[in-house]
Symmetry: C2
Subunit: 214 residues, 2 copies
């Protein structure tokens, strides 16, 4: 075919960087048209290769999706960890920062978020995927543990349970209200404020209220 150097990228018969290019194309397509709007064929088209070429790099469409999800969880974990910052300047505020980071990721990286939580991937597809997801949850887990440690032992709740509550509230707000563009419901306040208030009330209910948090 006379595709004489249409895109300046490709220099010859071989693409040279197809795997990464396909992932970038998938992110674009998912962000633009939802997780169902991404097709192997169109990613290949964007990369300027034939529809069969992607199969040299991914077993099938789901494998690419799983790779996107895994990368997403890795970035997500990094963002959350950065926000938590080992509890600095102070655990309560650091947890609020982590919550904001959760929502920010859902909003600014809808493609990753979608692949991570809504692509309905067979969970046994990739052990690395589960590991990356666990790493993200570990940040919330660590934050909850630090906060729980402030409570006197007799009234101290199981920190795992607390982390699940925190995660659930953040995730619920993210999926119901903080998604990129569409299914958003009219809110009386920004999702970030909603989550901040929710965590404040919840932690208050644990006995982590008032001055000891500032």
């Amino acid at each position: 075919m006379s595709w004489s150097r249409q895109g300046r990228k490709r220099r010859g018969y071989h693409h040279g960087n197809l795997r990464e290019t396909l992932i970038a194309a998938a992110l674009d397509l998912i962000a633009e048209k939802g997780p169902a709007g991404f097709t192997f064929a169109e990613a290949a088209r964007l990369a300027g290769v034939s529809p069969a070429a992607p199969y040299r790099h991914f077993r099938d469409r789901d494998a690419l999706m799983a790779d996107v999800a895994r990368r997403g969880f890795e970035r997500f974990a990094a963002e959350l960890a950065r926000a938590w910052d080992e509890g600095r300047p102070e655990p309560f505020e650091a947890l609020q920062n982590t919550g904001r980071a959760y929502l920010a990721f859902a909003r600014t990286e809808p493609a990753y978020f979608t692949a991570m939580f809504e692509a309905q991937l067979p969970p046994d597809l990739d052990p690395e995927l589960a590991r990356a997801a666990d790493q993200a949850f570990a940040v919330v887990r660590q934050a909850s543990e630090t906060l729980c440690a402030r409570l006197p032992k007799p009234t101290r709740p199981p920190s795992l349970m607390v982390s699940l509550h925190v995660w659930a509230m953040a995730h619920g707000i993210a999926t119901l209200f903080a998604r990129g563009d569409a299914a958003r419901r009219a809110l009386p306040m920004p999702p970030e404020d909603l989550l901040e208030a929710g965590l404040l009330v919840y932690l208050g209910g644990l006995g982590l209220g008032g001055d000891q948090n500032r």
Copy 2:
């Protein structure tokens, strides 16, 4: 309700109840293979009609999905309302019942739940869909309002905010932990108990704690 040949083989050229049969087939397929595993063509096959027949009843595949989602929200709203039971026997317990109903619906009706929250339907597809969803949320809204009314005005939080927190926590737990089968994470307790504890802490944080709730 079953005025037509439900469950029987069609006897003639016309099916007689294709619309309902297609919806039933869609529910089966979604429950079995996820929302992406449902195809118009296969639903038609299950109903014993040609691939073009469904277009006499639904504009396209998304329209059928939207109808399933709408019906799901209607049932969901009914289940939540039944659990809330106008705050009987007592608002705090009634809210816990409502939370359990939320999780129960997610678990026992994965097909509806999936169509409602994860089918990525264009939100402007069907005004009835949005109305039905609002009706479900109205139950949580009403419950939160009733509970907030117990607080003295000076410390009373906006009940809309409270309802959003309750909804987010229930939805987060439902989507992360209480789904039908697959993406479930190992939990130290049943999702129902997790939600009950979360609501207890949260409401305690609002000042709705202790004896006044029993």
